[in-house]
């Protein structure tokens, strides 16, 4: 379980998080929504230990993330995948090499075992035909799917999704949402998803939390948030909000 308690963070002279508390139970996709600049991506970076909170705590399976040394953080990160907004693929490596990177760096697998595993996850995200292509040659949606394959290649227990459909057309977005649902259902992966998109929240999420001024303004199941009278819930989940 991911548990954030009373998280405070100040960046660039501005208070970004002001007492955020969130619980993400195992096996569930938790969607974090909110206006731009309310600290959604910053929250994800606290979970994976890139940022340390000014105040408050971050626990993953009971382990205190900010108190971890580099070795412990590396061990934690091996159990987590992270899908960046644009995939964040290494530009000079092919798609297959990008996906293989965590395995080549950390696992004791042979080259053929790595190739098999890479092919398996690329197939899962519908990219098995594009392994030899390089990131500048592929579309935004393909980059995201390749990024998701890289996040999944080590069989993580958790995946953090940062705006998984940003800048994508509705058809590709729909494919990405289905993939995120599949990852939870088929691989039992726990997800923390940051998005602006109602479609993403309703299709991928089990629970939704909406951030306002650095803390959670409203939280509930997809049905509860959809039916909520809270102005932010209506703004994000109402008809035409996508």
């Amino acid at each position: 379980m991911i548990e954030l308690k009373n998280l405070h963070k100040r960046l660039g002279g501005r208070d970004i998080l002001k007492g955020l508390s969130v619980k993400v139970p195992k096996g569930m996709n938790f969607v974090l929504m909110g206006p731009s600049g309310t600290g959604k991506s910053v929250t994800l970076k606290h979970v994976i230990g890139i940022f340390k909170p000014d105040l408050g705590s971050v626990h993953v399976d009971g382990q205190d993330v900010p108190a971890m040394d580099r070795k412990q953080l590396m061990a934690l990160r091996k159990r987590m995948g992270y899908l960046f907004q644009n995939g964040a693929l290494i530009n000079w490596l092919s798609v297959a090499d990008n996906v293989a990177l965590p395995l080549k760096e950390h696992s004791q697998l042979s080259r053929s075992e790595v190739d098999d595993r890479v092919h398996e996850v690329l197939k899962l995200v519908g990219m098995d035909h594009a392994g030899k292509q390089e990131p500048p040659e592929i579309s935004g949606g393909m980059k995201l799917r390749a990024g998701l394959a890289r996040a999944l290649v080590t069989n993580p227990e958790y995946v953090l999704y940062d705006e998984p459909n940003a800048g994508l057309d509705p058809i590709i977005s729909e494919q990405i949402h289905e993939l995120i649902g599949e990852v939870r259902d088929r691989l039992s992966v726990t997800g923390l998803i940051v998005t602006h998109s109602r479609a993403c929240a309703t299709q991928c999420g089990d629970r939704i939390g909406i951030l306002e001024a650095g803390k959670l303004a409203v939280e509930g199941s997809v049905d509860e948030i959809t039916a909520s009278d809270h102005p932010l819930a209506r703004a994000f989940m109402g008809q035409g909000s996508d």
Binding site: K45, I48, I50, L73, M74, A75, R77, K78, M80, Y82, F84, Q85, N86, A88, L89, I90, N91, L101, P102, E105, H106, R150
Partner: protein, 264 residues
């Protein structure tokens, strides 16, 4: 009051940046045992550095040697002493001009490209992606680049020295009437007439270029890793990398020369 506060903030930022570069250098040194895993990247970086900088380095070195011979020769001719022109050109190229020219060109070509490449990776979250995959960016990105420049800078310096001395020989013969035999005998004797395997001028010059190579790569990687804010941030990182590299080359060049020729 504002001026004082601004000055203190400026100095604090500069001290912080210098501390970051030193810290990066130490972390890179600690990653050295992992170099067998980075051999492919090391060779790629060596090739890139060599190929990118070689043509400009050779042209500039040839002209620098020619200018050196010309300016020195004009004065020597007044005293009827042009027979030592080969000696002076060879020693000046090996001690100072070769390492300096090569390092400045490497800073402008390879250093700027390192800062741009790593800066772009930083602003597009590729560095964060490495971190979340538990891959140390220093080990993965910085180590091969620092080692590549530490190897290529001395290698290019040797070529610079040779081409510079050759450039001087053309001017010596064509404009100053010094016979090629006299010029080359002076040059070769000055670089071989010592009890050690290499004369002090050559090994101090090579040591200088090795240190310059490490400095350029470390400063450029540090500038890239500290980039933020999109294309503008990458541009500033390149500017910082080239400016700080050239500054360091001059200051380190002075310190090394002082240490070897005045302190020891």
């Amino acid at each position: 009051m504002n001026l004082a506060a601004g000055t203190i903030r400026f100095l604090a930022e500069r001290t912080g940046s210098a501390g970051y570069v030193v810290n990066l250098l130490v972390r890179t040194a600690l990653c050295l045992p992992r170099i067998p895993r980075r051999l492919r990247f090391l060779l790629d970086n060596c090739f890139n550095a060599g190929v990118r900088a070689l043509p400009v380095t050779l042209v500039v070195a040839a002209f620098a040697g020619a200018i050196l011979a010309m300016q020195t020769g004009i004065e020597l001719r007044r005293f009827g002493n042009t027979n030592v022109l080969g000696t002076i050109t060879a020693l000046s190229m090996c001690r100072e001009m070769g390492p300096f020219i090569t390092a400045v060109i490497l800073a402008a070509t390879v250093g700027s490209s390192i800062a741009a490449e790593i800066g772009t990776m930083k602003v597009s979250e590729e560095i964060d992606a490495l971190e979340v995959m538990s891959i140390d960016p220093v080990d993965y990105l910085v180590l091969p680049r620092v080692l590549a420049l530490a190897l290529m800078c001395p290698l290019l310096t040797v070529l610079s020295n040779l081409i510079g001395i050759y450039g001087g020989s053309i001017i010596a013969e064509q404009n100053l009437g010094v016979s090629p035999d006299l010029y080359w005998v002076g040059a070769i004797e000055s670089l071989t007439s010592s009890g050690t395997l290499l004369p002090k001028e050559v090994y101090v010059g090579l040591l200088k270029s090795l240190i310059f190579g490490v400095a350029i790569a470390t400063v450029s990687c540090a500038a890239g890793l500290k980039a933020r804010g999109g294309a503008l941030g990458v541009g500033l990182a390149v500017q910082t990398a080239v400016r700080n590299s050239v500054l360091l080359i001059i200051v380190l060049g002075f310190v090394i020369t002082w240490f070897f020729y005045f302190l020891t």
